[in-house]
């Protein structure tokens, strides 16, 4: 179908410390015992997209990710790993691999997306409208935000900041405005409003960071505007802003197309054919705007920015904060368990007597639990050893964790190789990899990590 897929896997994310570290880059952060990148790759594989470019920030992370992918998707996917320097942003990463891009359209997917939105649907919308960019929008999961209210006040205050202000045309097909960071005020373009007539401003939609771009335009924008750092904050808003006066952006391409038409032996007929086609199709406001008042020639250059709005039933969350990490873990084991193809409870967990594992839980293989434990809505990784009288609620416990007797863990994330000694009480904490929590200590809402040497 002439699409190329670029997965922007990222590297070390500051917002996710202490969960991510040098050894566990963000793409490999386990979500329900699978690296987060797995979800994206799995989704793409389901859609029959097997040639991928995975862009990873940092050489080391690139090696790790590459090793994992080649181990997991041995002969199922054909993946090229491209390691780019850190901190050049998503736009910079695309700029760096620009010479790999050859297809007509590029599908850019963020590596931290956990969703069941079909990439094909986005691509189809893109093709149908012949758009320059198509952004995937999804409803902000309402259930997630309401439930997570219990799990900490600091995330609550953060939340509204993640919303986007998105303007759509009445038919909800075109993107008219996108502002990802809430400023005090946001500006709408008058001529755009005038052309469309009606704009719907919504804040309950989230940019899922799955874009389809027209390659030529993307490359030109990246070349021309070398200050652009991020796709989401610079490139897409720029394209949306300039859709009715697409400056030089499209001139080159349009010219080429017109030249192509000239070659045909019946230029006059060609005009008539295109006229017939144009008259028969439903004109979008772009076409109406680009026409002269007398309706004849197209004088103004426009391009289309489309939006694909995922249905509210589909699941779509980005893993870009610890809160999101918790939510995803809970949802993947719970309501959105169709994202995982394999079973939720590992093959051979050893449970002690009177130990209860509630619903929406996941136990990795080789984990052992002592007597009279309680596990509710939690994910426990592989080869964990959990003593007796331990309570784990709303938490994520990664691999090779040792938990002593009588620990109570609520709403916390415990990374790999952590050792919790006896009678530790953790509430809303994040414990970095390899950390040792001394016996009897109590923490609330803290982030514990090993000091970097």
């Amino acid at each position: 179908m002439d699409f190329q897929v670029v997965v922007l896997a990222g590297g070390n994310s500051k917002s996710l410390t202490p969960l991510v570290s040098k050894d566990v880059p963000k793409p490999l952060l386990p979500v329900a015992n699978h690296p987060v990148l797995y979800y994206v790759l799995h989704q793409l594989e389901e859609s029959n997209l097997k040639d991928l470019i995975v862009v990873v920030e940092g050489e080391d992370a690139g090696l790790l990710v590459g090793a994992w992918i080649s181990g997991t998707f041995v002969d199922r996917l054909h993946v090229e790993i491209a390691a780019v320097p850190e901190d050049i942003g998503t736009a910079g990463a695309l700029r760096a691999i620009s010479h790999y891009l050859t297809a007509k359209d590029i599908l850019v997917v963020s590596g931290d997306l956990v969703s069941d939105v079909s990439p094909g649907a986005v691509a189809a919308t893109h093709r149908r409208h012949d758009a320059v960019v198509t952004a995937t929008l999804c409803c902000v999961p309402i259930s997630g935000s309401s439930e997570s209210g219990s799990s900490g006040g600091k995330d609550k205050t953060k939340k509204p900041g993640r919303y986007n202000i998105i303007g759509l045309d009445p038919r909800k097909q075109f993107l008219l405005h996108i502002a990802t960071e809430i400023e005090k005020d946001t500006r709408l373009q008058k001529h755009l409003l005038h052309a469309v007539g009606q704009m719907e401003i919504r804040s309950d939609l989230m940019d899922a960071h799955m874009y389809a771009f027209k390659r030529s335009v993307l490359q030109e924008v990246l070349d021309r505007k070398d200050t652009f750092q991020s796709l989401k904050q610079d490139v897409v808003p720029y394209l949306v802003r300039s859709q009715l006066k697409s400056e030089a952006v499209l001139s080159g391409i349009r010219q080429a197309e017109e030249d192509g038409n000239e070659k045909v032996s019946f230029p006059n007929n060609q005009v008539m054919v295109s006229q017939i086609l144009a008259n028969a199709s439903t004109p979008s406001f772009h076409e109406l705007y680009s026409m002269d008042p007398d309706g004849s020639a197209q004088t103004r250059k426009t391009h289309k920015c489309c939006a694909y709005i995922a249905s509210s039933s589909s699941y779509c969350v980005r893993l870009n904060s610890i809160q999101a990490f918790m939510d995803i873990n809970r949802d993947v084991t719970g309501e959105a368990d169709h994202l995982l193809s394999d079973n939720v409870i590992g093959p051979s967990p050893k449970l002690g007597t009177k130990t209860t594992v509630g619903p929406h839980c996941m136990l990795g293989e080789g984990s052992e639990m002592g007597d009279k434990c309680q596990v509710k809505r939690s994910v426990i990784g592989r080869h964990c050893r959990i003593g007796s009288h331990v309570k784990v609620v709303n938490s994520v416990v990664m691999n090779h964790v040792t938990i002593g007797d009588g620990c109570i863990i609520q709403g916390s994330v415990i990374c790999s190789n952590v050792q919790l000694q006896e009678r530790v009480v953790l509430k809303d904490c994040q414990v970095g990899a390899g950390f040792v929590v001394t016996a009897g200590s109590e923490y609330k809402g803290e982030s514990l990590a090993r000091k970097e040497k």
Binding site: M1, S47, A124, R128, N279, S281, S311
Partner: protein, 671 residues
Amino acid sequence: MNPNPNIDFSHLCFLLFLQKSTKFFERQLSMDARRMSRAVPRVRQVGFFTPNTPAQQPQPQSAAPSSESPPLSDSPASNSLSPVMIPPPRHLSDNLGGRTAAVPVPGREISGELPTVGSYNPSESVLWLDSPPRSRIGDEELSEGAESSLGWYRRSDSAKFASSLPSGGFNLSTAKHPESVAAVEAKNPLPEQSEVQKEQASSSKPLKAKTTKAERRALQESQRAAKAASRAEANKSGTPGGAPSSKPMKQPPQKKDGPPVASSIAASERIGVDRSVEKERKKDLPPPRKQFDDESRGGRAKRRSVLNQPEARNRVELFRHLPPHKNGTQLPSLESKFFELHEKHPAVYKVGLQYLAGDLSGGNARCIAMLQAFQEAIRDYSTPPEKTLTRDLTSKIGGFVSFLIECRPLSMSMGNAIRFLKSRIARLPLTLSESEAKTTLCSDIDRFINEKIVLADKVILRHAATKIRDGDVLLTYGSSCVVEMILLYAHELGKQFRVVVVDSHPMLEGQKLLRRLVVKGLSCTYTQLNAISYVMHKVTRVFLGASSIFSNGTVYSTVGTASVAMVAHAFRVPVLVCCEAYKFHERVQLDSICFNELGDPDAISKVPGRVDVNYLDNLTDKQKENLELLNLKYDATPSDYISVIVTDYGMIPPTSVPVIVREYRKEYLLI
């Protein structure tokens, strides 16, 4: 569609008798030409109810509407100089431009009368199809044009004209009855009619007696051919869910065509011509369309299809056989399969999506878009190893087509274009290399678009513009691209006229047309279909577009067209249907029930931009079970209401459609 289909013969005779008395008076007034013209064929048909004259279908055809105003009909010579003649099909090498240029366009204005239409001159065309057994028959007997112009007396001495329409006439048999039913208006006297019957009976007798051995053998063979044909016909017109009203009318003529009743005349005439034609026709015949209420076939189709078929609940009983509408609900499932449909070319896929989403509508545009997508697919095509291009590409195109059908049922024009393309592929010389073959096909497609659509439109608008005079008020319905071009062209020519754009819910296509017309400086009136009878008073011409025109002259077009034509007819306003000849189809359709397309049923219950008009939304599920929404896309306009068809071969009466189909179909398959 038929106003009064169940009127019987005796009733008809009675009416004829009644009207006979007024005949003289009306002639004196030299009344509306259309009425007259319709009168003449009607009465002839009345004669054909006798059982042993089964194959005389061409007559309704040969009657050219308006060619016989009373004084003219006396002189045969005047009619052979008919204003629009279809040139003989011998010049196959001619390109379209040259050919259409040869069609003399009537320049004269007939005030208060219909736009001029003439009878064609089929004597040459008949000769072209001639075959040895037929050459026995004198040419003058075959020259149907002369017969029709002569009227009753002359025609009756030649009983052999029956098969002068070897391919078209067959289909027409089904059309005969409804037309004759409408003969209520006929004004010719009864005695004439009985005379005809007598004469025909007498002329058929001696012929039967002198059949030779060769003739008998020929007869046998022809019967065989006729049998096969009737089977094909039965297949084609078999409509399980069809209208009950259409059935009884269809049956008798088909039976008559069968061997036992067929008279020797018809049979002996058919031989030779028919067999070759028949063979070819069987090849050309589109397979019977899928009936969606047929359980077994539906099941098979479901398994094969890319899209899920929506359930048949809440669909109007009478229209269950039509493929259900797929828009909206099906879009997501198709979209999510975007990358899985490997074998579909992206261009084809895009066109399919546009059909499905309704972004692209209109017969010409859909056809062009499809052909261009195929062109792109052919350009990117490479023959897999151990396969031949001809076969593999044909199956590939077939796959594309079935995909497009799933997105939206094909229009007739698209079907014709696909047939053209497939025949081009089949005829590719084997010696051609792959790249040569591909460029040949691409240029063929280009030529099809240019000649059959673009050039045809140009010719049509020249023809039609002659019918627009200063001070006219033209009415058009919906949004037809040809009609729009005509209006703009006439405006460019500096003619002073007004346009009434009639529109209808839910598509409101007329608004788009209106916008473009107003922008160009035409003075327009816009109204809805329900006000048609009020605006029709002022209208002097009605221009309509068509999705397809069938062999019996029925115009298949956007729903609502039939009502416009009917109202116009009632107000004695000429109706001009503008349609490119590539949209003609050899099928015969009497109603819009057997074949139609269902639109989005929810579209009719909503008013765009008015969310508050939602009276149907808050029904409970149980109440909704009693509700069936029907959104038909097309309707069929009987040829009675159509004054003239403006096509790229000139202006023709609706009865001449089969001639175009017969004479030019082959040639365009050959291009």
